[in-house]
């Protein structure tokens, strides 16, 4: 923890270092990224394609969400702090650098059925309790990119990502989950012509989520702990948190190729990539419910056009994700040594059900907006835009067959206007309204899933019934609803003096509410303060 606090302080200091020059307001920071789409890609060498003015942003916020419109594996209330800091800088004549640091510390209230970080449309091997409890979560997320400036036709770069997470359940069984995620992303760009640039990045990423033994004061001796195998299939064993340990180890490998086109008015960057994941799930002495692998295809296209004083931005981003688990049927082999009387134990995989669980998901996001530029493209007075998003998933378990499929379409409009601009004191108002429509909502469970278990039922039959009735059925209801959401955000930015140094400070407040056609709602509100040093 102390190490992380030191990192946090260093990050703040790094942001504050390097002052002078003209002030950068939030609008200029936003426009800087928009007009340099390469900076929004994982390709670190993209920094060299369109160098960005030295500056940084540091923001500290508090968010709170609550309501009853949420999935069964999400809590009723989420609140916490969020610290974010990023900086664009130049290390020397030939080296450009960007770094970001994000720290989240939040508490989720009344959450159940999942003690893991990634419960949805991912590895089916989830562990959790049916008893609702509070979860404390801390996530440290560091990213850095280093790039050469353009050297002839080439730029070279490397990105490094590091994420550490910790999630603790505050009620019996008191599980704790640790997350570590490291990646290195070497990259390059090649200038074909003055207008055309090609880019390439490859990456290797290692992720480990570890759940050691759960602690408990065990006030309830009938407390069950659940092992999920995909869809409704689960094992519910009383006291199974005792001696429990599990770790998920994933290797991710992949890359992206980019193609950029830039003229005086147009900046258009396209990216296509894929990622392969291989995950091993293991417990004590090679005990494992199965393995998981996935492919994620990603594509994005970012188009910017400056026409007179108008900036037109269009972006299309999408991904298609396919994952599958191979479930294992294992047996514990006990081999006694007759000379010593000591027995050795080993889990042996007797059978593998290939692709027993298959998950597919997609997300396509089309965004179009227009800004009224001012002050040499460093500011804008208003913005208006539309957004269209299609997303969904299809989770399927085989033998016996069960399936959950969801397709949704979300359409929204948004705008930004300046209410006040006086002596560099700016007040802006942002608003957004969208409608999230259920297109497909299908849930087919196996015949046995709704058979009420008796005390003679197996732990698997009991677990399966509980997940069918208390997780998937409520989720099915969640996805059957259409939701109307609106968001209102007010921001105030102002010049600030800090030991003879001028910088920009800002304050933001927002409120968002989603209301469904079944009278459920989810409300978010937050406030944040920040600075933009040079």
């Amino acid at each position: 923890m102390r190490k992380h606090i030191v990192l946090l302080i260093i990050s703040i200091l790094v942001s504050v270092i390097g002052m002078a020059q003209s002030l950068v307001y939030t609008e200029e920071h936003e426009l800087t990224q928009l007009l340099n789409p390469w900076t929004m890609l994982p390709n670190a060498a993209g920094l060299g394609v369109s160098p960005v003015k030295k500056h940084g942003v540091t923001e500290l916020g508090y968010d709170k969400s609550n309501g009853n419109y949420h999935r069964a594996q999400i809590g009723n209330d989420l609140s916490g702090l969020n610290f974010y800091s990023e900086r664009y800088d130049k290390l020397s004549k030939n080296w450009l650098v960007w770094g970001s640091f994000n720290f989240q510390m939040n508490r989720e209230t009344d959450r159940a059925w999942s003690d893991v970080f990634f419960p949805f449309n991912n590895s089916p091997y989830i562990f959790g309790s049916s008893v609702k409890g509070n979860y404390d979560r801390q996530i440290f997320d560091l990213h850095a990119k280093l790039s050469t400036v353009q050297q002839g036709k080439l730029t070279w770069g490397v990105g490094v990502d590091y994420t550490a997470g910790d999630m603790s359940r505050l009620r019996d069984p008191r599980s704790r989950t640790y997350l570590a995620d490291y990646a290195v992303v070497p990259s390059l760009t090649y200038k074909l012509t003055e207008k055309h640039t090609l880019g390439l990045d490859v990456f290797a990423r290692y992720q480990k989520e570890k759940m050691p033994n759960a602690n408990t004061v065990q006030l309830d001796p009938t407390l069950k702990y659940y092992t999920f195998f995909g869809m409704e299939n689960a094992d519910a064993v009383i006291g199974a948190y005792n001696g429990f340990q599990r770790q998920f180890e994933s290797g991710f490998y992949g890359g992206d190729i980019q193609f950029g086109y830039k003229t005086g008015k147009i900046n258009w960057v396209n990216s296509l990539g894929m990622e392969y994941q291989l995950q091993e799930v293991s417990g004590n002495i090679k005990q494992s419910p199965g393995s998981y692998h996935s492919l994620n295809y990603k594509a994005s296209s970012m188009f910017r056009l400056i026409q007179k004083n108008k900036l037109i931005c269009a972006s299309l981003k999408g991904n298609y994700y396919q994952g599958a688990s191979n479930e294992f049927r294992q047996e514990l082999d006990i081999i006694p040594n007759l000379s010593t009387g000591i027995a050795s134990q080993e889990w042996v995989t007797l059978y593998q059900y290939s692709n027993r669980y298959i998950t597919k998901s997609y997300n396509v996001d089309l965004d179009f907006n227009i800004r009224n530029l001012m002050a040499d493209a460093k500011d804008y007075s208003w913005k208006a835009g539309v957004n269209l998003q299609a997303y969904g998933f299809d989770n399927q378990y085989n033998l016996p067959y069960s399936e959950m499929r969801v397709d949704r379409l979300k359409a929204g409009i948004y705008g930004h206007g300046r209410l006040l601009n006086k002596k560099n004191h700016r007040v802006n108002l942002d608003t957004k309204i969208d409608y999230d429509l259920a297109l497909t909502n299908k849930l087919v469970l196996s015949d046995d899933a709704f058979v009420t278990p008796t005390s003679a039922s197996t732990t698997f039959q009991q677990g399966t019934y509980d997940i069918a009735t208390q997780v998937l059925t409520p989720d099915n209801n969640y996805f059957s609803q259409n939701a109307l959401s609106y968001k209102l955000e007010a921001s105030y930015s102002f010049p600030l003096s800090f030991k003879k140094t001028q910088l920009v400070g800002f304050l933001k407040m927002y409120i968002k509410n989603s209301q469904t056609n079944q009278n459920q709602n989810w409300m978010n509100a937050g406030v944040s303060i920040g600075i933009i040093p040079l």
């Binding site: 064993v237 396919q322 047996e331 009387g341 290939s354 027993r356 033998l399």
Partner: protein
């Protein structure tokens, strides 16, 4: 320019073509599993196990199929898994005489057979050999070992008990009978598969009396406790054992001087003078009758060892009734390979849902509803998976719970 875009497109197509979508071939069911049931030794060749149910059971699924006229059961579209295979049926004394190839007593008989942990991952034909056992008068009807929590939520273990029921129509006497608890090493030391004619016991107790001192009337039962007191005073979810018939006296628990002593004959653990019923299992128990001098039975170390716990070897043929109670495991459930009782004593096994106990779970024998018109008869198919249920409200001498009447 065209050339450069072409290079980009070639690169793009190359990358995309190198990766194809994930293989989505799903697992398939086994088209056919055949179980050929063979009648036990001593039954005429012309008699087949016809029109009886054979059950395939995994932790997830259960299939039930009737045998044909030749005793063959065919299961179709079976999900690959590890299954237990079992069947049992009861025949009358007259049928037993008619089926036998020798002269036999006119007594009801149970045919039963089971295969534990059959790995059914592809088409297969299994041979299931039946054993026969004469229907017994005395049955172990309840084993309560899990313990519970007391009023302060602390573990409470003093309330364990075993109940024995007279399932016959005649008064039975407990005098001189023995009750054994099977070996319960965490790594099984004496599996039934390696010991077809002996059971290794961790403890043996004897019922006192000289012949007719301890009768059980038809349809009635006796209760054996470690501590014959009312445990509900300390632990509300526990049981009142103040009316128990026998007590394994020890200094560990409060004793009731009005209750007869359950005599300890052998214990593998010198300090344990009470019934060593463990909270999670294994708690296999067997009732047996012998005129042998028990002190002459061999006492053996775990194979391969020359020190540690020693277990007394009891001939399996002396057993009147036995119930296999296995430890439930978090990751795999109970392990049928750790059965200590032979299939002719108990073709199946029972377990409680908890892996560590303190859940006030009891293993109770179900009622033979069809037969229980004037009095209670308990089910006895020689397979505890068919005959017992795990219940969470232990209650001595009580057999009218809905769960036991299913």
């Amino acid at each position: 320019m065209t050339k450069q875009i072409s290079i980009f497109l070639i690169l793009l197509v190359s990358v995309v073509s190198m990766v194809s979508c994930l293989d989505e071939t799903t697992p398939t069911a086994i088209s056919k599993i055949t179980v050929q049931v063979a009648m036990p030794h001593g039954i005429k060749d012309s008699v087949h196990y016809a029109n009886r149910y054979v059950i395939l059971k995994s932790n997830r699924l259960e299939y039930k199929v009737l045998t044909d006229s030749l005793g063959k059961a065919v299961f179709e579209n079976v999900v690959p898994d590890i299954y237990s295979v079992s069947t049992s049926c009861e025949i009358s004394g007259d049928q037993y005489i008619a089926y036998s190839d020798t002269v036999v007593e006119n007594k009801g008989v149970i045919f039963s057979g089971s295969l534990a942990k059959e790995q059914l991952f592809s088409e297969k034909t299994l041979q299931l050999a039946l054993t026969k056992s004469i229907k017994q008068s005395l049955l172990i009807s309840k084993i309560y070992a899990s313990g519970t929590k007391d009023a302060l939520s602390k573990n409470y273990t003093a309330d364990a008990y075993i109940e024995i029921f007279n399932n016959s129509d005649e008064t039975q006497y407990m005098d001189g009978l023995y009750l054994g608890l099977v070996e319960a090493e965490s790594v099984i030391a004496f599996p039934a598969s390696s010991n077809p004619i002996y059971i290794h016991a961790r403890q043996i107790f004897r019922f006192p009396g000289s012949g007719m001192d301890n009768p059980i009337l038809p349809g009635k039962s006796i209760v054996i406790a470690n501590s014959a007191i009312n445990h509900t005073i300390s632990a509300p979810t526990s049981v009142d054992l103040s009316t128990a018939d026998f007590e394994a006296k020890s200094t560990k628990f409060s004793n009731n001087s009005n209750v007869k002593t359950f005599e300890l004959i052998y214990t593998a653990y010198a300090s344990l003078l009470y019934m060593n019923l463990t909270n999670g299992g294994d708690n296999g128990a067997f009732l047996f009758k012998t005129n042998d001098d028990i002190s002459t039975y061999p006492i053996e170390y775990i194979p391969g060892r020359v020190s540690g716990n020693r277990y007394i070897r009891v001939p399996a043929e002396t057993v009147i009734d036995g119930v296999e109670v296995l430890r439930n495991k978090a990751t795999t459930g109970p392990d049928p390979n750790s059965k200590r009782l032979q299939s002719f004593i108990d073709a199946g096994y029972m377990f409680i849902s908890s892996i560590s106990g303190y859940t006030h779970e009891s293993i109770d024998r179900k009622v033979d509803v069809a037969k229980s018109t004037n009095r209670t008869y308990l089910r006895d198919t020689n397979n505890s998976q068919n005959d017992f249920k795990s219940v969470t409200d232990p209650s001595p001498r009580k057999y009218d719970k809905p769960l036991l009447l299913e």
